[in-house]
């Protein structure tokens, strides 16, 4: 559902990955600049928006978190619909989470839009001592599957902004619109216009 116009792009971004890989932590670090060591597995907020400026456009990400529905593999098709980008997250200290990430890539290929910009994030990169998945292995897998790969740490904020900036850069500037987007219901639709004023 990336829509372009006047260099501003709205893009739905979905997070996928095993429980505990750090999906929510990654978003919270990006959106709020926060990190909680023991983040509850299902967080209250499951829908964020964050605007980024890249060189030729302003990208407004609508970030969808799984709301815990991935726990028993029960994500709704609605989750994937119209997503322009996805981040598949695994935990570098957990080989099983990397194997599950590969499954999520397959799932995305069957459910999502084929032009989706997909990133693979090896999270918890601060825990180097406990590393189980080498960055070479993940890099090779990412290249073979047309993903781009970064190792991130929501704890130290390393590469967190980068992965979102890189997605923003890679988003197609002109999106083919197979389905003209529908309307979103708002309680007071007429009042949602933002007046541009420079005054404080």
């Amino acid at each position: 559902m990336a829509t372009t116009g006047n260099k501003s792009i709205n893009a739905k971004l979905v997070l996928l990955g095993d429980v505990g890989a750090g999906k929510s932590s990654l978003v919270l670090r990006f959106v709020r600049g926060q990190f909680v060591e023991f983040q509850e597995s299902t967080i209250g907020a499951a829908f964020f928006s964050q605007t980024l400026a890249v060189n030729d456009a302003t990208v407004k990400f609508e970030i969808w978190d799984t709301a815990g529905q991935e726990r028993y593999h029960s994500l709704a098709p609605m989750y994937y619909r119209g997503a322009a980008a996805a981040i598949i997250v695994y935990d570098i200290t957990n080989q099983a989470s990397f194997e599950r990430a590969k499954k999520w890539v397959q799932e995305l290929h069957s459910q999502g839009n084929p032009n989706m910009v997909t990133a693979l994030a090896g999270n918890k990169a601060d825990l180097l001592d406990a590393r189980k998945v080498t960055s070479e292995e993940a890099q090779t897998y990412a290249q073979e599957n047309g993903l781009f790969f970064l190792e991130t740490s929501a704890k130290t904020a390393s590469n967190v902004n980068d992965i979102f900036y890189e997605i923003a850069k890679r988003l197609p500037r002109v999106q083919p619109a197979p389905n003209p987007s529908g309307m979103v219901l708002m309680e007071r639709p007429a009042e949602r216009t933002v007046s541009a004023s420079c005054c404080s």
Partner: protein, 834 residues
């Protein structure tokens, strides 16, 4: 990634819900919002149960599996564990395809509604629920562009549903148009009587059959049909009292007209009253399930329940046994209508939750789905057609509704259309007859429309119009509340209103003390809700304090050096971050407003000032300030870098800029203190004195308590010294953050109302401190200021907006003092600023 029956943790819940249809999903969302721990299960691999939208293959498979009974698969030797059986909801399922290869090719692009035809009226209860649960973020809708009614056999006319539609209509005579106009006016006057209610429909008339009332006020049969079937959406023949057990009363008829008319124009993009969710009706249960998940409801698809645990003493439900063998427990259970509540359960009698207009349990609804290769009407893809009773055949006793949707609703590939049909019937053969009659009628009118449009193209006629067809009969089940709660099945109505009412009643039976709708402060502003439990959190990156950006830059450099193997940590990325920092227009300002207990005191204070200053330890003269300035320079190196000086920029209003009033460290300290507490700025309501949100002010901000820490105490002291107003008279520091486009439109800081002046007296002056630099804009403007402000040296640097009056451009560390009162204690109109 299928995993055969995972173990579920925990094993005890407040509520277990089986089935993910719309009523079950609503109950799960409402219960989760009320803080209940909910487990939501579905044996199917998809969301929506009997309300799902599926591909043709999946729909066929689901209909055939749900049209035969499933006896309990669990061996019944233990009286405390009773096998759970299902009953068939569907019968007479017939599916045929004239072009299987075309359907096969596009199979995944279809979303066929099991419970169609259904639409939402813009003002109906389902739309209200979508807004109240905040699920509007997950859904998109398409307008139904037009509705048609079959009045003469085989001929469709556009429904004249608004004044302009009546005016433009070509099928109605002038007299008929007049009648319809007069009737709409009558209904409107009845609904909101402006004077004396003289035009109100009498109480007696409200209880009479609607059809009788329409006849009484002199409407012709044609107009009556249009009103009853295509606007009030009546099902049964309203003119045959013997057959129709379900006659619409005038009261209900008027309510339905009111719903229709309040739906028109509620949302700017919907031309008519009706909307349809993109990707199909199956999106609605998914949206409510997601909402429930956000509120910690646990979701497990593909998980059959094989048995129920029953307490042997009192026969009450205790828990469920999953296909995995795991046992889970909850005090309450909700089942979708296809599950049979075992007779062993419950001493309490099940109470059906009856909604007035719901048909009796014997009634059925015949449903049909067709995939076609052309639209019924040229140039319109989403449309509704009503065949009122007797318009298809003399035996027709109920209205048949046909909904066509095109690829713009994302339910089928381009170039194809979906037709949904439904009719209430008492037996399946009657239902099938009606559906087939309607399908033939639709084909006939499609061919005649096409021939009228394109007389030459005969080649197209050879191809079949209908590519794929399914017809089936669905049982109507009412919701039941007992030891185990059963939800209602989808009904024969065009919208979900009755279903919503029934679901709300069930929820209140389950949880009498809980509200069905979550207590949303203001659904339109959920972005501003920052308590972490809100579903939506909206933030834009520039909100990050400026100091954080260099940190990120540093971190990135380190990262790039440390992990050379990572191709993505390119230093090139720095450019974007750097650019972001410079191009974002960030202004942090600190507002300090002085107030006085009562207005009178002001005069006394001014009068007594000279004596105070001469006898008190602090001598408020220029030398004192100079001395203090040098003191600070001694203990804070940050400030010593820049020179401090004061500049009078205007006398009307009295405004002074203190350059380099704050040090770099102090600015950053204030930003750091305030950043975690930022929330959307409010304005003070002059009637109640309370905070309220306003479009006049779009910044975010927070108040810092007076004397919060040493540095703030220092700043407050300095302010007191510069302004000659004691610290005690100041309000707390308010840190505000304006982003690009954010603003506070010109306003006065002083109060004009009683409430606020009682609170702490009149505001006298304001000191604005700028905490960050900006590239462009962000000025404070005094549009009412007097004087030749355009000859100031900074004029050329100002943005267009800033040229509207006397402007001050933000520079970090500078402070702007302006007085809302003249020296004689009258309010200064020229202090208007923004």
């Amino acid at each position: 990634m299928t995993e055969a029956h995972p173990q579920i943790d925990p094993t005890n819940f407040d509520l277990i819900v089986l089935g993910t249809g719309l009523p079950e999903s609503l109950i799960a969302a409402a219960a989760s919002s009320a803080g209940k721990s909910v487990l939501h299960l579905d044996p199917n691999p998809f969301y929506g149960s009997h309300f799902a939208s599926l591909s043709p293959d999946d729909l066929s498979a689901f209909l055939s599996s749900s049209s035969s009974p499933h006896p309990p698969s669990f061996p019944g030797d233990d009286p405390a564990t009773v096998g759970l059986a299902t009953l068939p909801l569907y019968s007479d399922v017939q599916i045929s395809s004239s072009s299987p290869e075309v359907i096969e090719e596009h199979c995944r692009k279809f979303s066929l509604d099991l419970a169609g035809p259904k639409v939402l009226f813009c003002a109906d209860k389902a739309v209200d629920a979508i807004l109240k649960f905040g699920t509007n973020h997950y859904l998109e809708f398409k307008a139904i562009d037009a509705s048609y009614i079959c009045i003469e056999k085989g001929k469709l006319m556009k429904v004249p549903d608004s004044r302009s539609a009546i005016f433009k209509d070509k099928n109605l005579s002038l007299m008929e148009k007049n009648q319809l106009m007069k009737f709409f006016k009558l209904v409107q006057q009845h609904l909101d009587p402006d004077e004396d209610g003289s035009a109100k429909v009498s109480e007696e008339d409200l209880e009479t059959p609607f059809s009788e009332f329409l006849g009484k006020i002199g409407l012709q049969q044609k107009i009556k049909s249009i009103i009853m079937y295509s606007i009030a959406m009546a099902d049964q023949n309203q003119d045959n009292v013997d057959i129709s057990e379900d006659i619409l009363r005038t009261k209900d008829g008027i309510d339905r007209l009111a719903l229709f008319h309040s739906s028109m124009g509620r949302f700017p993009n919907a031309s008519g009253a009706l909307i349809y969710p993109s990707y199909g009706q199956g999106e609605l249960p998914q949206a409510f399930c997601r909402r429930a998940a956000v509120k910690r409801c646990l979701y497990v698809l593909r998980m059959p329940v094989v048995a129920l645990h029953i307490d042997q003493d009192d026969g009450q439900y205790r828990g469920i046994k999953l296909a995995s063998g795991q046992d889970l427990f909850s005090p309450r259970l909700v089942l979708d209508p296809s599950f049979v509540v075992p007779s062993q359960v419950g001493s309490s009698v099940e109470e059906p939750v009856k909604i007035r207009s719901q048909k009796d349990a014997e009634a059925k609804v015949a449903r049909g789905i067709c995939i076609t290769r052309a639209s019924l009407m040229p140039d319109v893809s989403n449309l509704l057609v009503i065949y009122p009773p007797r318009s298809l055949c003399p035996e027709q006793d109920t209205a048949v509704r046909v909904l066509q949707l095109g690829s713009t609703s994302a339910v089928c590939p381009p170039g194809m259309f979906l037709l949904y049909l439904s009719a209430i019937c008492s037996d399946s053969s009657q239902g099938k007859t009606l559906l087939n009659a309607a399908i033939s009628a639709v084909e006939v009118s499609q061919i005649s429309e096409r021939n009228a449009m394109n007389k030459n193209e005969d080649a197209e006629v050879e191809k079949p119009f209908i590519l794929w067809k399914a017809t089936y009969i669905q049982k109507l089940c009412m919701g039941k509340y007992g030891s185990i709660t059963s939800t209602p099945s989808s009904d024969g109505n065009l919208n979900y209103n009755d279903l919503m009412d029934a679901t709300e009643k069930l929820f209140h039976s389950l949880y009498p003390d809980e509200a069905f709708f979550p207590e949303a402060t203001s659904p339109g502003n959920t972005e501003d809700d920052d308590d972490g439990t809100s579903d939506t959190v909206q933030r834009t990156l520039p909100l990050r304090k400026e100091g954080a950006l260099p940190e990120i830059l540093d971190g990135k450099l380190g990262q790039a050096q440390a992990e050379e193997g990572l191709a993505m940590a390119k230093p090139k990325n720095l450019r974007y971050l750097g650019r972001k920092a410079s191009s974002s227009t960030l202004v942090f300002t600190v507002l300090l407003v002085f107030s006085f207990a009562v207005l009178i005191l002001l005069a006394i204070w001014i009068l007594s000032m000279p004596s105070g200053s001469s006898s008190g330890p602090k001598v408020h003269d220029l030398t004192s300030i100079v001395r203090k300035t040098s003191d600070w320079t001694g203990d804070d190196e940050g400030r010593s870098e820049s020179e401090q000086w004061a500049e009078v920029i205007s006398w009307e209003p009295r405004a002074i800029v203190y350059h380099n009033f704050l040090s770099k460290n102090e600015c950053e300290h204030l930003i750091k203190l305030a950043t975690p507490h930022m929330r959307k700025s409010a304005v003070v309501d002059s009637a109640t004195g309370k905070r309220k949100d306003s479009r006049v002010r779009t910044s975010s901000g927070t108040f810092l308590a007076r004397g919060l820490d040493k540095m703030i105490q220092d700043i407050e002291k300095r302010i007191a010294d510069f302004t000659f107003i004691p610290v005690e008279n100041g309000e707390g520091l308010q840190v505000l953050h304006y982003e690009v486009g954010q603003k506070y439109e010109p306003h006065f800081d002083y109060f004009l109302d009683e409430y606020n002046t009682k609170n702490g007296g009149q505001r006298m002056a304001t000191l604005l401190m700028y905490l960050s630099d900006v590239e462009e804009g962000g000025e404070t403007v005094f549009p009412n200021a007097k004087g030749n402000f355009s000859d100031g040296p900074w004029w050329d640097e100002l943005s267009d907006c800033g040229k509207k009056g006397l402007s001050v451009k933000p520079k970090r560390g500078d402070a702007l003092l302006f007085w809302s009162m003249r020296p004689d204690a009258t309010l200064d109109q020229s202090s208007l600023h923004g």
